[in-house]
Subunit: 336 residues, 2 copies
């Protein structure tokens, strides 16, 4: 990769044709206009989101920056109750990057987009000098159509609502950490990077009005999201540590390395706040699907915080109660 | 800026609140959800675009990376015939960045969004280690509603159509170059960074069916865009060098430095391909507006290339004809 590849001229044009057009199966992208003119009209209510990805290393067990960039934005739309439709992809490449690396990332994005059922319709590449970037950064933005009749919000949570996790915690964060450090220990763990629209949108359709709020558990982990839930609704929230699903290999490695799975990033797991009445049925629905097979009910909303101060309480495995703080400093930078 | 500011926890939350929410006047952004739920339903045909900005230096005469990031995406939508509505903003920050720099950039983005009439509804921040980025990179993506009844395309150009430039060439590229090099010469030039929706959309509405194609003249400059016009329509295109508007200060500096204004990037200028019948009236319309006051008709589409090979011919000031090639290598990297 040279600076000329980012200059907008013939080299940029050739790069886009060779790397992206051949892989990303989109007639819209193929037009190479300044903006993508969407093939179908839009009608209804929509969600719009953006996320940049700076994960290191670029490739790790279970995924890579390209798969992550597609699923990350797909998931942000899905937890908002929106069917992901269109994605854009903006690349910031470092001079000297091997073109083969970009080929592999584009392949991975194309596969992830097919799996998630979204179309990458707009792309942009920029190149910065060696030492001014770090291989590849990717931004994806996404447009999704909101399902009718949903009003998901942390403020919709009421006393008695159940907290449900769609699967085990910590797999992504730990697998990226291990890939980065090369500690020489073999841990059978891989990133959970996956498109949550595949389970969350069918769930929303199946249980209209029963789902209060959803959020994927990325940077900051479950602990941070639980604190946002409490803070935005002014609630006290209780989590049962024993009920939190964690794969045995992840639990073991976390104990050895001093990590808490509640603070590790996930890329294919969500918190779902659901009415008490529907909680068991929602759990059953999720468990019947591959991406939700380890789902669990892990706690509940206790209602307005008695002290007036929103709080997340953790009932620990030895039976005590402690406050679960949000993440303040980072235990693992550049995890996504 | 520390790595913790990018970790997704409390520091990230505080950064977003302090820097962005206070400035970007958006109730939607204020919800801080995973995706922005757009306040109004959408109906009609839409365009979607993305662009990353890596300009160096971050501040230059006439603009900065924030203003550029807003207007760049606004312009990509406008030249596609779409009214820009919603923008997202993704920041990749380098550890050690002064928070004050980010404040100034956010101020500038807020002002640019107000001027352009768009709402920044979604934002994301990531932080990379010192030496793995370069201060601030910004990605913006944008959604715009296509005006009815337009079918803009380079393939719509036919023999006799006129080529119109909305203003002088080279101001942005030169001003960034001079700000970067600190050559110690005083040149009264500043970036033309501006929201072209303000003139191009009223023009489209005023002259329905007469505008064939538009493109803003960013990376690669007018020469590259003219070549794309020729290539995609299979046409021979003729440009009269004497008719190309260039500010005297820009012309002088280009001669001194060996730059050709036809290859310099612009951030507030577009090529408009217009029917011969409407060309003079469109010119008059643009010249009556501040952002189009230096508009000029600079050439025409001559129809299918006689050799079968699309080509851009330049009638030089001494009367000869030469081929105007697209940009191949970069004369000025990181200009946007």
């Amino acid at each position: 990769m040279t600076l000329g590849h980012g200059a907008g001229g013939k080299l940029t044009h050739d790069l886009v044709e060779e790397v992206f057009l051949s892989r990303l199966d989109s007639a819209t992208l193929g037009e190479l206009g300044d903006a993508a003119v969407l093939a179908r009209p839009l009608a209804g209510r929509f969600a719009f989101t953006t996320d940049s990805f700076v994960v290191r290393p670029l490739f790790f067990p279970g995924g890579d920056i390209g798969k992550l960039a597609v699923n990350g934005t797909v998931n942000d739309l899905a937890v908002s109750g929106a069917e992901p439709l269109y994605l854009s992809a903006g690349f910031i490449l470092e001079e000297g990057l091997e073109i083969d690396v970009l080929h592999r990332i584009a392949d991975s994005m194309a596969a992830a987009a097919r799996t998630a059922g979204v179309e990458i319709v707009a792309a942009d590449t920029k190149v910065v000098e060696r030492g001014k970037g770090d291989g590849v950064f990717i931004n994806t933005a996404g447009v999704g159509r909101l399902l009718d009749g949903q009003a998901l919000s942390p403020k919709a949570a009421v006393a008695g609502d159940r907290l449900l996790l769609t699967g085990t915690l910590g797999d992504h964060g730990l697998s990226v950490y291990l890939a980065r450090q090369d500690l020489g220990i073999e841990v059978p763990v891989q990133s959970d990077c996956a498109p949550l629209n595949q389970i969350l949108l069918p769930m929303l359709r199946e249980f209209p009005g029963e789902i209060r709020f959803m959020r994927d558990l990325t940077r900051g982990g479950a602990a941070t999201i639980l604190n946002e839930l409490a803070a935005q609704g002014g609630n006290e929230v209780l989590v049962d540590e024993e009920a939190v699903p964690v794969a045995p290999a992840v639990r073991g490695a976390c104990e050895m390395l001093g990590f808490d799975p509640l603070y590790l990033a996930n890329e294919g797991k969500a918190l779902v706040v659901v009415s008490a009445a529907a909680a068991e049925k929602v759990l059953e629905f999720l468990r019947a699907r591959d991406l939700g097979r380890n789902a669990a009910i892990v706690g509940e909303v206790r209602g307005a915080a008695p002290s007036g101060k929103p709080i997340v309480l953790l009932r620990t495995s030895v039976g005590g109660l402690r406050i679960l703080d949000p993440l303040i400093e980072d235990q693992l930078p550049r995890i996504c």
